[in-house]
Assembly symmetry: C2
C-alpha cells in the first residue's frame, strides 16, 4: 500500500516514464511545474502553444527548453485541440491546462473528435497526505460537480476508485460524509449516503467498501470513532475516500486542510480516457508537481488495464 | 481586541465571577469541567440532579463537592426545569447540559414558563483560536440549524455578532462562505451570500461588515486573497465570522479543524436570554472549559447591556 507522496514517487520510478501534453504552455507557473516534473523524473512534456511566447517565458524564469518538444500553435483554442489530440492519439499520456480559460480547456477535453470522453461524467479528486492520518485520503468532489445527484455520486465513487487503485489502494473505504452519522429523513444527504451504501452492498458500486452517512471524525479519526462507540460500521476512522454532499462542503474543507493542516496534495480530473491536470493559479508548484505525479501513475494504470 | 483564549481568560478575571446552573449534573465529564472552571476562576456552579448520584460520581473522580451548591431533583426533566429556572430567575448566569438527552435539554431551554426564549431563533457558534490566524474565528452554524434560510442566516449573524462583541470583537467581519467568491445564479448559496451583504449595506444587519460569497481561503488567508487579486472587497483574508451555507459544510470543516489543525475552541448556543452550553461527549474537557469561559463573558456582556 502506498501511504505518502514519497511512496507514490518511488512507485513511479519503477514504471515507464510518461509524457504530458500541455495546452497553451506559455505560462511561467506551468513551465516551472513541467520543469520540476522532468527533473524529478516524473514526466516529460510536449509544450503546445505560441512558440515565441513559450521561449520568452522560459527565458524570464531561466529555464532551458532543451529536451522539450514544442509545437507552435498561436491560437489558444487550436493549441488546446492539438494538445488534447496528442493524448487521444496516444502520443502523450496525460493532458494539462496552461494559459487558457478553464471553460475552453474543458471544451477540448470533451471534444467529440479529439477529446478524452469516456461516456462517464467528469469529476475531481484531491489526493491528500496529511499529518495525523497514516494513509492517503482521496477527497471528492471539491471543485467540479456542484450538486451531485445520487447517480452522480455513484459515478464519482467509480471514478475515484480507479485513482485509488492506480495509487496502490485496493478496495478503498469510501465515506459519504454528512454532519451526522445516522440517517435523518430531514437530511437528504444522509438518505443518499445510505443509498450509496446499499448500492455498494448490492454490487452496483464495485471494488470498494462504502459506509455512510459518516461525520468527518468518525470517517478519519479512529479514536473519535471508538469514543463514540461506533459499532457494526465498516469504516471506523479509516476511510480512504471522503465523498462530499456538495461542492460547498467539499471546497470549504479542502481549503481548510490546505491552509491550516499539514498536508501535501495533488489533484486530477477523472472520468476521462487519460488523466487531466487542471491546477489553479492559487495552487503551489508542489501541488502542480504532485498532480503530474498522480497523472503519471494513473496513466500507467490505464495502460496496463487496456 | 481579544485574540486568544488566554486574552479572554484575562478579560474574564476583571469581571464579577459568574455562576453556571447544570441540568442533571451526575456526569463525570461535566463535573470535571465545572471543577476546572471553578479552579481557574471562570465560574462557580449550581449542580441540579440526583444528589446521591452526583456525590457518587464526584467520589469516583476524586472531586470534592465543597463550595458547590447541590439541588436534589431525581427526575431528569424536572431537574432541567429547575436548573433553567435558576437562570431565568437570575440566580445563575448560564445554563449547561449534563446527563440528559439533547432533546430534553433543549426543551427546557425553550420552555415558555421557565426557559430562556428571546423570540429569536437559536443558533450555535464555535469560537476558534487557530495557528495561522492572528485573531479569533467564530464559526456558525456547524451544529444546530441544518438548512438555514436567508432570514435564518440574517438571525444567525445577529446572534453571532453579540458573541463577538462579548469577546471584545467590535464590528466583526462576517464572511458567508461558498465554494466560490462570485455570485453564480446556479448556486443559491452565492445568491443568499450576496443578499446578506446587501442587507448589511442597507442596515438590516447591523454592527458588523458582511461580504460574501467568499471561499474559505479568501475569507481567512490574507496571502491567498492578495494572490487572487481580490479588489473592492471588504474582507481580504481577515474575516472574524465564518457563516456556512448549511450544517454539512459547517460541521465537516469544524471537525476537520478540530482534528487536523492546531486549535483551541469553545462552543455556545446563542439567541437565548442567557448563554447555553451544550457540549458533546466527544468534546475534550478543554473545549468544555473554554465553552464555560465564553458563557461567562457573554453573560457579563448581557448583564451590562440590560
Amino acid at each position: 500500500m502506498n501511504k505518502s507522496f514519497d511512496d507514490l514517487l518511488k512507485k513511479l520510478a519503477t514504471v515507464e516514464k510518461k509524457k504530458v501534453s500541455v495546452a497553451v504552455a506559455q505560462d511561467s507557473e506551468v513551465l516551472l511545474a513541467v520543469k520540476a516534473a522532468k527533473e524529478r523524473n516524473i514526466a516529460d512534456s510536449i509544450l503546445v502553444g505560441d512558440a515565441d511566447e513559450i521561449k520568452k517565458v522560459a527565458d524570464e524564469i531561466g529555464m532551458s527548453l532543451d529536451g522539450y518538444e514544442i509545437i507552435d500553435v498561436k491560437d489558444k483554442i487550436e493549441a488546446a485541440r492539438t494538445a488534447v489530440k496528442l493524448v487521444s492519439d496516444g502520443k502523450a499520456d496525460m493532458y494539462m491546462k496552461g494559459l487558457l480559460d478553464t471553460k475552453d480547456f474543458l471544451r477540448s477535453v470533451l471534444d467529440k473528435e479529439v477529446g478524452l470522453r469516456t461516456g462517464r461524467p467528469l469529476s475531481h479528486v484531491g489526493v491528500f497526505e496529511m499529518e495525523g492520518v497514516d494513509h492517503l485520503l482521496f477527497l471528492t468532489d471539491v471543485a467540479f460537480v456542484p450538486y451531485p445527484t445520487l447517480e452522480d455520486k455513484a459515478n464519482i465513487i467509480r471514478n475515484t476508485v480507479e485513482i485509488c487503485e492506480a495509487c496502490g489502494v485496493e478496495n478503498p473505504k469510501v465515506a459519504p460524509l454528512a454532519a451526522v452519522e445516522v440517517v435523518n429523513p430531514k437530511m437528504p444527504e444522509t438518505i443518499e449516503a445510505d443509498e450509496l451504501t446499499k448500492m455498494n452492498e448490492r454490487g452496483e458500486i464495485e471494488r470498494c467498501i462504502v459506509d455512510g452517512p459518516l461525520s468527518l471524525d468518525l470517517a478519519t479519526v479512529p479514536e473519535a470513532a471508538e469514543h463514540k462507540g461506533a459499532t457494526g460500521r465498516k469504516i471506523v476512522g479509516d476511510a480512504d475516500v471522503l465523498l462530499f454532499p456538495d461542492i460547498h462542503a467539499g471546497n470549504i474543507l479542502y481549503k481548510g486542510l490546505v491552509h491550516f493542516a499539514k498536508v501535501k496534495n495533488g489533484n486530477l480530473i477523472t472520468g476521462t480516457a487519460a488523466p487531466v491536470i487542471l491546477t489553479s493559479r492559487s495552487d503551489s508548484s508542489e501541488v502542480k508537481v504532485y498532480s503530474l505525479a498522480l497523472g503519471a501513475l494513473v496513466a500507467d494504470s490505464l495502460k496496463k488495464n487496456k
